[in-house]
């Protein structure tokens, strides 16, 4: 069900990510202000953007689950949020390294972009424990969907609030009017962003396929156990157990 198109997606991810990194180091010019350290931008910003879109996608699948009661949407939402959390960790760590190199500090608490991203990350860090705390699968899926929708709506609101805040420390390089990036930098950034988005979709499909295989295997074991009149205990998990 989920494995369709996985092979071309995997190839596209590798080609785009390798291509983006090649452009970063061999094509994009060094930044006039920051010099070589600005190369972190091509990794850090796509990671953050794709993670935020992944969180919103988790909310969208949460809505679809509540509307259709189709458990596969709950699984899609869970996996999207799970992978977004991993990308968010990478965005936080790479951002911290960049901050250390550019500002001389690992973290700046009065910088709205950083703190708001941390708040979004911490909010979503509650998602897995929330799921794990609910044993009934139906209730778990419903509560997780509501959480994903509310938190997903918070992401763009948070983004707009940060955009409205004036900050000199975290410059705006992307805007509706085109931002302030020269052509080579813009192209490199767009390739890196596309590569990260395709990587996200690939990992999402990988995990969905793995979870589906795991569920089918569990169902098979249960069917065999029923023939034996034996009881197979189901392990408590934050992940959806059936679709």
């Amino acid at each position: 069900m989920f494995a369709r198109g996985l092979k071309p997606l995997s190839i596209a991810s590798v080609v785009l990510i390798v291509g983006a990194f090649a452009l970063v180091f061999f094509y994009a010019p060094n930044d006039a202000d920051q010099g070589f350290v600005q190369k972190i931008f091509y990794l850090h910003v796509p990671l953050a953007i794709v993670a935020l879109f992944g969180f919103v996608a988790g909310g969208v699948y949460g809505i679809r689950y509540l509307r259709t009661d189709d458990r596969s949407h709950d699984l899609r939402s869970y996996v999207a949020i799970h992978i977004s959390l991993i990308l968010a960790v990478a965005a936080l760590v790479t951002g911290s390294i960049w901050a250390r190199a550019a500002w001389g500090q690992w973290w700046v608490w009065d910088e709205p972009t950083l703190v708001s991203f941390l708040i979004v990350f911490l909010l979503y860090a509650c998602y897995q424990p929330l799921r794990f705390s609910i044993e009934d699968p139906e209730r778990q899926a419903r509560t997780a969907a509501v959480f994903a929708i509310v938190a997903g709506a918070f992401v763009p609101l948070n983004f707009m609030a940060v955009r409205l805040a004036e900050s000199l420390v975290h410059p705006r390089v992307l805007s509706a009017t085109g931002g302030s990036m020269p052509g080579e930098m813009r192209l490199t950034f767009l390739v890196a962003l596309t590569g990260m988005a395709v990587l996200f979709v690939t990992l999402w499909k990988y995990e969905l396929t793995s979870k589906e295989a795991s569920m089918q295997l569990r169902a098979l074991k249960r069917a065999l156990a029923d023939e034996d009149d034996a009881w197979v205990p189901t392990r408590r998990s934050a992940a959806p157990q059936q679709i």
């Binding site: 972190i40 250390r100 500002w103 000199l168 990992l203």
Partner: protein
């Protein structure tokens, strides 16, 4: 000095460009963190896949054993009927 230049100057004061020798390790560290996270994720997925493969092997073995038992039982019943 125009407002843009003033802003650029202020930004440059806050973010002085590091020389390549100093900036290199930071850039390498950032890209290595990303690579390490992806590799850890792939390793976890590989471990899960290996577990699924092992469990699938166990299930296949159970099904085979049951089929053999069923064939044996059918054979015995046929012998009794004769």
């Amino acid at each position: 000095m125009g407002p843009d230049q003033a802003q650029r100057g202020a930004a440059a004061d806050l973010m002085p460009a590091l020389p390549l020798d100093d900036a290199g390790p930071y850039v390498a560290a950032a890209y290595l963190v990303f690579l390490a996270l992806i590799l850890v994720y792939v390793a976890i997925m590989a471990a899960k896949l290996a577990r699924i493969g092992r469990e699938l092997g166990e299930v296949t073995e159970i099904v085979r054993r049951r089929a053999a038992e069923r064939r044996e039982r059918d054979g015995e019943e046929e012998a009794v009927h004769r």
